[in-house]
Amino acid sequence: MSRAVTALNRFGLGARPDERMPADPERWLRRQFEEFDPRPSEFDGVATRTAIAAELADWYAYRRQERQGEGAMAPASGRNERAVAFGESGKRMYREMVGARLESALNDDAPFVERLVHFWANHFAVSGDNSALLRFAGLLEFEAIRPHVLGRFANMLLAVEQHPAMLLYLDQMQSIGPNSMFGARAAGRGRERGLNENLGREILELHSLGVDGGYDQADVTELSRALTGWTVGGLGRGPGQRFVDSESRPGDFVFLPQLHEPGSRRLLGRAYPEAGVGQARSMLADLAAHPSTANHVATKLARHFAGDDPPAALVQRLVRAYRESDGSLPEIYQALIDSRELWVETPLKFKSPWEWSVSAMRALDQTRFRQGIAGFSRQLGQAVWQPRSPAGFPDSDAHWLGSDALMRRVDGAQRLVARAQNPADPRQLAAALFGERMSAQTLQAISRAESPGQGLALLLVSPEFLWR
C-alpha cells in the first residue's frame, strides 16, 4: 500500500476515496501514457482561438473608430456598456478554461500526465495580465502543451514559440527587422521601428538552455533577429498586418517575410543561412538538442518531484534519458518512475496551491468547480496562468511555505468542505487516502473534531496532506 500512496500523491494528483489503490504502482503510472486524452470532453465548451481573435479584432476596431470620431459617437454610457461587456466576456472565457483544466485533472484517468501538463505550462509560462492574454493563456496549455506532453521536447518547444499566447506575451508581434522591407520603409519616413529581444532572451534563458547555459548577449540578439516576422494574424493590430494572407485563420501563427531581418545569423557559434521562417525553426531544433537544455529540463523536473535540492544522481539519470532519446519525454518520465529516490516514504515537496486544491477536491470526491476555481486559486496565491512573470511560478518550498499562505489554506479548506456534497467520515477517509502514513497527532486532531466537516478541514491542512 505504501508504494501506491507514493504513486498517487507524489506522481499523481492525490487519491480519490473511491479509487482502488493500484496493485502495481509503476505499471499504473506507465499505463497513463496510453490513457491520457489530450482533449477530453471537459474542453468542449471553451473558446477557440478563431473566436477569440475575432472578438479581439472587433474590439480593437471599435476602439479605433471611437478614437477617430471622439465625441461624435454613442453617448458615454453606451461606450461603457461595450467596455464592460468586453471585460466580462474575457473573464468568462478565462473562468471557463480554468474550470476545464481543473475538471480534467479531477476526473481523468491519467493524473500523472495531468501533473506533467501543469509542469510544462509553468515551464513555458505566459501570464494573462491583459485582455488578449487573459483569453489566450489557457489555450497555450490546451493547444501547445497537451498534444506534445508525451512527444518530443523539440516539438513542444516549437509549438509553444509559435503559439499566439507566447508571441503576444513576449512582444514578438512588435519586433521588426530594422533592415526588413517594413523596417527600412518606416525608417525612411523617420519612424524608428525595430527589434524587441524579449522572446529571444526568454527562449534561451527560460525555455531551453537555462541562464547558465552558455549564451551571451550576441546570441540573444541573433536569435531575436531570426525570429522577426513571426507573428499572429487576424487580430487587427500589430505591424505588417496588411501583409497577412487572407487564407490564414484569425489567431493563427503567420510568418511575414516583409518584417524579417534578412541575412544569415550566428547562434552559439553555428551559422544559419537565410531561410525565412525556417531560420529560427532550425535554431529552435538545435537548442532543443543542446546539452544545456537537457540539463536545464532535467534539473527542473527533478526539482518538481524530488524536492528543491534533488540528488545529483537523479538529475544525471534524467539528463542521460533526455540525451539518449533525443528529448523523447516519455523516456524521461520513465526514468523518473525508475528512480529509487522518488519512492521514499518521507515527503519531498510542499504542494503548490494548485496541487493542493486539486488533491483536496479529489479527496472530497468533487468532480466540478467550473465557475469557482479561478477565484479560489487566486485567493490561495496562485492565479492560474497569471504568474506575472515569464519564469512562471517558483517551484520551491520556500516560495509557498509562508504563514499567510498557510492561513489561506485553512480558510480554503473550510470553504471546500462546506461545498462538498456527501462528506465522508474523516477518519475513514484519512485511512483510505494515507493508510499507515497518518501520524498519531493528526489522527487525534481529526477524531476529536467537533463535526465531520471540521475533521475533513483538518485532514486537508494536515502535514500529511500539505506535503507530497
Binding site: 509562508g402 504563514s403 492561513m407 489561506r408 480558510d411 486532531a445 502535514p463
Partner: protein, 382 residues
C-alpha cells in the same frame, strides 16, 4: 461562534501561550522603522530621476526624453518624473534623496537572477540561501527585529534563520476560531508548520479585517503603515511592486506604475503619522534598462539604475551621483548606464546610521561576500 479576530484579541484561552510572549516583549524602545520596496522587473531609473541636463540626453533617449516635461527639477542636472508628486514634496521637505547609477554586483541581464543577487547579496545568483535583510535582523535587539513581508510568501531578502512573517489580505471567508485553535494543536510538534502558524495567527490579528488588493498603491502603503504602527508592531517591512519590465510603449505604463509607487509612499507617510519621523524607506530594483529605446517604444534589460531613499530620517533634498555620462563610450557594454555606486554601500550605510550600529558590522554581516564598496556616509540624519 465568535470570529477569530475577536477571539484572538481576548487571548484568554489555550492560544494565549502562543501569542503572548511576543506581545509581552514589545515595548516602546527605539521607534526606528525600515521599509524596503523592491521594484521587480528592472525599473527604468533614467526615466525616474531623469538626467535631463546631460548634453547627450535628448538625442539618446528619443521619445522617452519627453518624460522630463512637467517634472520637478532636482537641482540643475536631474528632473523627477512628473508622476512622483508625493516624492517631489518629500524632496522639497528634504526627506527624499536619490542615488543615481547604482547596481548590485550582478552584470548579466536575467530578472530572476538579478533579483536573487539584489536580495541575497551573494557573489552570484543562488550562491547564498539567506537574504541580507534577514542577516541584518541578527544585529538588532530582539524587541526591535520583528520583520514582515507584504506578500503571501516570504521574499528572498527576508529569508533566513531569523524568524519573519508574511501577510497579504485575502478575500476567502475567515475560518472560524475553533478550527484555528485545533490547527494549532495539530501542528504543535511539527517543526516547520508550528512557528509559521503562530505567526499567521498573530499577524491576522494585527491587520484586523483588512481587505484590499495589494496591487493598488495606496492600499499597499496603508496596510504597511498599519502593520508597522502600534504596540507589538513590526519594525521592518518588505513591499513588492511589479510591472516595471517595460519592453514596449514604456511611457504610459511607467507613468502609471510610478504613480502607484508614489501613492504607496504617500499612504505610508500618512498612515505612520509621527512614526514617519523615524522611518527610512529604500526603493531598489534588480538592474536598470537600456539607455536607448528599443524598436517598440520601450527599453530592454540594462545595468545601472536609481535607488530612492525617503522618510523623516533621510538627510534628503539632493541627488547623489558619480555621474558616468551618456556618450556611447561612457556606457556599459555600449548600451547601459554604467554603475558607479554599489547598492549595498547605499543600503549598508543608511541602515547603520539609521539604527545606530557600527558600519563595519553592518557591512560584514549583511553583505559578507558581495563586492560591496564602502558604506555611503551621510544618507540619514543622526
Amino acid at each position: 461562534m465568535i470570529d477569530r479576530r475577536a477571539f484572538l484579541s481576548f487571548a484568554g484561552l489555550g492560544l494565549a501561550t502562543l501569542i503572548m510572549p511576543r506581545m509581552a516583549l514589545a515595548r516602546a524602545a527605539t521607534e526606528k522603522r525600515f521599509v524596503l520596496v523592491i521594484q521587480r522587473g528592472a525599473a527604468d531609473g533614467l526615466s525616474t530621476v531623469i538626467p535631463s541636463g546631460d548634453p547627450g540626453f535628448a538625442s539618446v533617449r528619443g521619445a522617452l526624453a519627453e518624460d522630463a516635461e512637467g517634472g520637478t527639477a532636482l537641482g540643475e542636472f536631474f528632473t523627477l518624473h512628473p508622476a512622483l508628486a508625493n516624492t517631489a514634496s518629500l524632496y522639497r521637505d528634504r526627506q527624499a534623496l536619490f542615488v543615481q547609477a547604482v547596481a548590485s554586483g550582478y552584470r548579466e541581464r536575467s530578472h530572476f537572477d538579478g533579483q536573487n543577487v539584489l536580495e541575497t547579496a551573494g557573489t552570484g545568483p543562488y550562491r547564498l540561501a539567506d537574504g541580507w535583510l534577514n542577516r541584518f535582523l541578527g544585529l538588532l535587539p530582539p524587541q526591535d527585529n520583528e520583520a514582515i513581508g507584504l506578500a503571501s510568501a516570504v521574499p528572498a531578502v527576508l529569508r533566513g534563520s531569523a524568524a519573519v512573517s508574511s501577510y497579504a489580505p485575502s478575500n476567502l471567508p475567515d475560518a472560524n476560531s475553533d478550527l484555528l485553535l485545533r490547527v494549532a494543536d495539530m501542528y504543535e510538534r511539527d517543526p516547520v508548520l508550528h512557528p509559521l502558524w503562530s505567526d499567521a495567527l498573530e499577524t491576522s490579528e494585527m491587520a484586523g479585517d483588512f481587505s484590499g488588493n495589494l496591487r493598488n498603491g495606496e492600499t499597499l502603503g496603508t496596510l504597511a503603515a498599519r502593520l508597522l504602527s502600534g504596540p507589538g508592531a513590526a519594525r521592518i517591512a518588505v513591499l513588492e511592486t511589479g510591472g516595471w519590465d517595460t519592453h514596449r510603449n514604456q511611457r504610459g505604463g511607467l507613468a502609471r506604475n510610478l504613480g502607484r509607487l508614489d501613492a504607496t509612499i504617500g499612504a505610508l507617510r500618512d498612515g505612520l503619522g509621527t512614526v514617519w519621523r523615524d522611518t527610512l524607506v529604500i526603493v531598489a530594483t534588480e538592474f536598470g534598462r537600456t539607455v536607448a529605446p528599443n524598436g517598440t517604444g520601450g527599453t530592454d534589460h540594462g545595468t545601472g539604475s536609481v535607488a530612492m531613499l525617503m522618510g523623516g530620517a533621510v538627510a534628503g533634498g539632493r541627488v547623489v551621483a558619480d555621474w558616468p555620462g551618456l556618450r556611447n563610450a561612457d556606457l556599459f557594454e555600449g548600451r547601459d548606464l554604467r554603475p558607479t555606486q554599489s547598492i549595498y554601500g547605499v543600503i549598508g550605510g543608511a541602515l547603520a546610521a539609521h539604527f545606530g550600529i557600527d558600519q563595519g558590522r553592518v557591512m560584514r554581516t549583511a553583505f559578507p561576500v558581495a563586492e560591496r564598496g564602502a558604506a555611503m556616509e551621510g544618507l540619514v540624519r543622526v
